[in-house]
Each structure stands twice: as C-alpha cells, then as structure tokens.
Subunit: 382 residues, 2 copies
Amino acid sequence: MKIEELITCPETKARTGRIETDHGSINTPVFMPVGTAGSVKSLSPVDLLETGSQIILGNTYHLLLRPGMEIMESAGGLHKFMSWAGPILTDSGGYQVFSLGQLNKITEEGVVFQSRIDGSKHSLSPEISMDIQRVLGSDIVMAFDECTPYPATPQQAQTSMELTHRWEQRSLSYFRSTQPKYGHGQQLFGIVQGSVYPELRKVSAQTLVDMDFDGYAIGGLSVGEPKADMYEITEVVTEHLPQDQPRYLMGVGKPEDLVEAVSLGIDMFDCVLPTRNARHGIMFTWDGPVSLKAAREKDAHIPLDADCRCYSCQNFSRAYLRHLFKASELLVYRLASIHNVHFYHELMSTMRQSIIAGAFPAFKRDFFARYNLKRAELKSSL
Amino acid sequence: MKIEELITCPETKARTGRIETDHGSINTPVFMPVGTAGSVKSLSPVDLLETGSQIILGNTYHLLLRPGMEIMESAGGLHKFMSWAGPILTDSGGYQVFSLGQLNKITEEGVVFQSRIDGSKHSLSPEISMDIQRVLGSDIVMAFDECTPYPATPQQAQTSMELTHRWEQRSLSYFRSTQPKYGHGQQLFGIVQGSVYPELRKVSAQTLVDMDFDGYAIGGLSVGEPKADMYEITEVVTEHLPQDQPRYLMGVGKPEDLVEAVSLGIDMFDCVLPTRNARHGIMFTWDGPVSLKAAREKDAHIPLDADCRCYSCQNFSRAYLRHLFKASELLVYRLASIHNVHFYHELMSTMRQSIIAGAFPAFKRDFFARYNLKRAELKSSL
C-alpha cells in the first residue's frame, strides 16, 4: 500500500496524499471515527458521510464478543452488516484484551480471556486475529501485538516488544497464507512498540520495515505518558518508516495532538474523543472545547459555531442543544456527535489544504494561538 | 378552520381532506408524532420530514417546566427553538398535570402543581394555558380542560364535564382577546369530555359546537376503558360535530385503533406508541408488531419489511438492528423510531388513498385480516 501523490510541506514533515482501497480513496492525513460495536455511536452511515468521514474503525474485540463471528460471517462481513460502503480499518483485538478484558493467561501462543458480557472464554492469537479480520472483511487489518503497559522498565519494554515482533511476524505469515472472503482486497499494517524508549522504538520500526508490511502504526502511546514523550517517540519512529507508505498513530487524540502529530509526519488517526465528548456535552470548536451544559448557554439562541457547516450548527442553537442535554433527549447525542466528528474532519481537511499550499507552519501557529487561548479561558470558567 | 376538499367514502364515515395552517397544509386523516420536550424522541426535523410527518405535537406541561417560558419566548417560539418549519399542535398542559404532575389543588380558577424536575410550584388555568401556547406559537392550540378520570360515576363525569365547559369557554374568550406573537395565525380546538356516557358526550359536543371552536377534539378516551366504549363514544361524538371542521381523537393509538377511528370519521391522532415501542424494540409492520429483540432475529439478514421504503428498512437487517439493541447502541433508537413513525404515516396515507378511491371498507377488511392473524401468531411465540 502506497501513499499516492505524496506532498510534503517545505520546512516540515507534514505530508498529504491519498491511499487507495477497494472501498474507495482516502485523503491523508485522515481521522477515523471509531465504530466500536458495528456503529459509530449515535451516527448512521449517512451521518458519517455528511460529516466527511472517509474511513471508520471497527473493534475486533467487541465484535468477537457480540454479535460473534458466526453472525458476522453469515452477514457477509462488517461493511454489509452495518451498511457502510466506505473503507474500514479493524484493530487486532489485543489492545482491548489488555485494557478491558478479564485477561486469564498470556503465553507465547497468544492470550486467553473472559467475555465481559457473558463470562465466556475466548482466545486470541496472531492467527485467530487474522482469521477474525478476514471474516470482518476490513480494508486495513492490524497485526496482533502486545500493547506494552505504561510505565514499563526498559527491560519490560524490550521483552514485550520482542514478543510483539514474533506475534507480528506470525500475523504477517498467516495473513499472506490466507485469502480475502468477500472479493475485495485487504492490507496488513504492522505496529511499532517499545514504550517511551527511543532506542527500542528505532529497533522496532526497523524490524517491522524489514518484515515489509503494507503500512505502519505506532502503538503503545496515549496510554498515560507525558505529551513530550508521545511527540518525541512519534518523531523517532516516523524517521525510521518508509516515506511512501501510510503511518498511523493509534488512539490519538485531542485536536492539538492531531496538529502536532501531522507536523511529525503522521497520516492516520483514530480516537473515541469526538463521539465520547459529544455525549457528555463537550463540543470542539476552533476556539477550544465548549461545554454545552453550562448555565450560560441556556438562552444562547445562536449556533455553537456560526461558521460551521455541520447539520447541527446549521439548524440548532446552543440553547436548544443545552435543553436537550438537560432533558436527556436522545436526539442531542447524535447532534453533538455530528458536530464533533465534522469538526475533526474539518481540522484534517484544513491541514491537508495548508500542506498542499505549503502553508502548514502558518496554519499550526494560527491554530495554537486561537485554540489554546480560549481553552485557558474555558478552564478557568468551568 | 375548515377541512378543505372533504371527501367521504361511500357507505362509511371515513373522510379525507386538507387543513391549512400558516406553516403548511395537512392531509387528513393524519397522525401527529409526539415531540414532548421539544423533540420527537431520537428524531431530527429532517427525519420527521423523511418519514412523512406533516404536523407534530408539543407538550405544554413539559416545556413549561423545562426549558421554561422565558427561554421559549426569547427563542421566538417552539418552531424556531426546535427548527421545525411545519405545523405544530400543542396540548393545554392539563392532561399531564392530572396524569404526571404532583397535583396540589384544583379549584374553579385552575390547578396548582409541583414540578417533577425541581419541586417548584406552578399554576395552570385556561388563561395561563392560552398565554403559554401563544408563547410556544403552535398552529393549533388546545383549550384547557379537565381530563375526567376513569372510571367515573355519571355524577362525577357530569361535574367534571361542566367544569371543563366553563374552562373551555374561558379559554376561548381569553384566546380571542389575545394575539399571536410571531406573525403566523393560531387556531383553537375545544375538547369534548363526558367519560363513557353517551348522553354526556352528546351534551358536551353540542355545548362546544355552540361555543364555535376552530376544531374539536375528543378527550378522556384511551385512559383504560374497554375498546368497545372508546369506539362507541367516538361514534356518538362525531355524529354531533360539524362535518366541515377537523376532529381529533387525543392520545390514540394502536394501528388498529387508527383504522377503526378513521372509519368513524376522525381526522387527527397523536400517540407516543410508535416512538416508545421503537425504543423497546417493538416494530410495527403490516403483519402486526414484531419484537426485534427476539433470538430468532439474530441471523435474520433481511430487512424488517422488504417492501418498506423507510431509511432503516432500505439499509439495515433485522440481525443488525437486534445486535444494536443488545449492545444498547444509541443508533438503534433512531433507526427503530424512523421505521415506526414511517409505518404510522404510511398507514394514514394508505387510508387517505383508499377513501379517495371509494375503497375504504375493502382496505379495512384487508388490514384486519392480515394484521390480526399475524398478531395472534406473534403473541403465542413471544
């Protein structure tokens, strides 16, 4: 998998291009909304398209537990099941086993865990994860890795990384020995680990590049480490990844993180933040986050952002949205999610345009000047 | 307010026509989705239009308590607040005070009650209800009545009805002495009471017709009385209402109730059933209600109704909707509500067409043959 028509902004590492999948093209850098259980929470496929979504993420762990692979296979895969015709990326399931699951056992072979839903026992291994992602039919498949816990000593991080490398080699070999199920192609991404240690990260990146994946992800960040570490590791890793292949920073992040990481050469992101915050009334704007539950919004008969072209801002006032939140009206979770997902996509689109125009450094400076200022104000008033 | 281009189906009392409001025309018979707190639960204005909604209902009681009339007035009324450009009917608030509120006192003047939300004290009277509905700016305003409790003795029913008549006369006089606030006209409907006693209902209908309202509603039904009583009273009342004005059966009902009541000459309905049942996974079809939570749907990769043109049936399978219900995914409450509201509107539209074609008796016979048969099957399998 190549990044086509790659343009790098002079004096920075920020880059824009296009990834091709059998379910359509993706303009990068791109943000992928998270459709955990076969649905990006509260949003329909039409909502996703109207907010500007190009590709969404599905969670192997959740779909394995419910509805289960028998139903996913008889449905003909995740695209058909959820009626999403665009590209899908699925994770390997490993991260959720470590962070959410009741992990019973971890061996060289893989992991055994219990379902949070019904207590049933399940296994995941590189081969099982590849089989599941073949059944899901995602356009981009993630290799099975161990997400190194944070904090980890250098020795713990190295041991974990080396296990990850063996699992990723098995993922790759098994993936290449199997075929897609539904007539469209699938690509496999490797995941760089190594915790916050630049030397390990460099080794991990080089090891994976030697294996020759279709694209490369950076895992094990945004797990509690200082922001400076996250950016430093991102920079170290991208230096050791191929220029012409996609780079995906997993589970990141806040708008400011996306801007920083794009400037370090990242192409792809996913995060639950825009949808999760929406459900709690925290709305993203170019002036920083705004709480729609705040008392000051009660008679604010103006849009959240008068310049925003999303359905919610075009039709509803802050006062109405606040009223719906206060009344726990279901409609508001969707309206708020539409705005936040649209904002994330607008942010990415603006970055793409600024890179093409050779103006990314100016964009970044202006973004932080505006975004940070107002956030500081908000913090003191919340 | 007149029913324009009124057509009555030969050999029946079923009728179709058109009501004009300053927010658009309404083809009758019509079903009005209930937008209790300024939102038809889970549905946006676009969803309402796409399901075929012509007019929606707003609840004075809920909007009075939250967001309150100060915010409703600064918003410029309910249409602007919720971004619904079509007609709105508001109730008087009385019914909810009796059924939901903590009623403190009822006098000749009106009622005093406490808010369920914050315990604050509120009053409603004919004059206050008219003032509130002027602020809401609904196209159709309901007179303030007492919903006679069921069961009631003939004496209780008569006493309650006579109070209702005095309140309705005050509603009418006060309404006529005030003006709309937002440049569009408002019409006032009277409400016939009299419990299950045909003689009282006849007196009530004649009394209200003498007062000369813009339209007439039948209140105090669907409150626990036998179905036979509901239909008998509906028939008695419609016989004493003007042919050329709209007739509204409040709070009704199930699809079979709508068909029966249309055959008795009713033009307008409202009910929370399509949206409430949707949120519980009970879906309406021409073959009767279907539970989407049933285990047998888990691998039903077919639409709920292959002939249905709603967004949900056009895009999603029973298996997917069941999965979303099991996972409590927010999306499903909207998808299910879209289907049920669309079904109700299709039912009304089919009835309108059958009346125009002079074929309503055949429609009614076919409807019950199909709907009842399958309902009986479902009951035994649930």
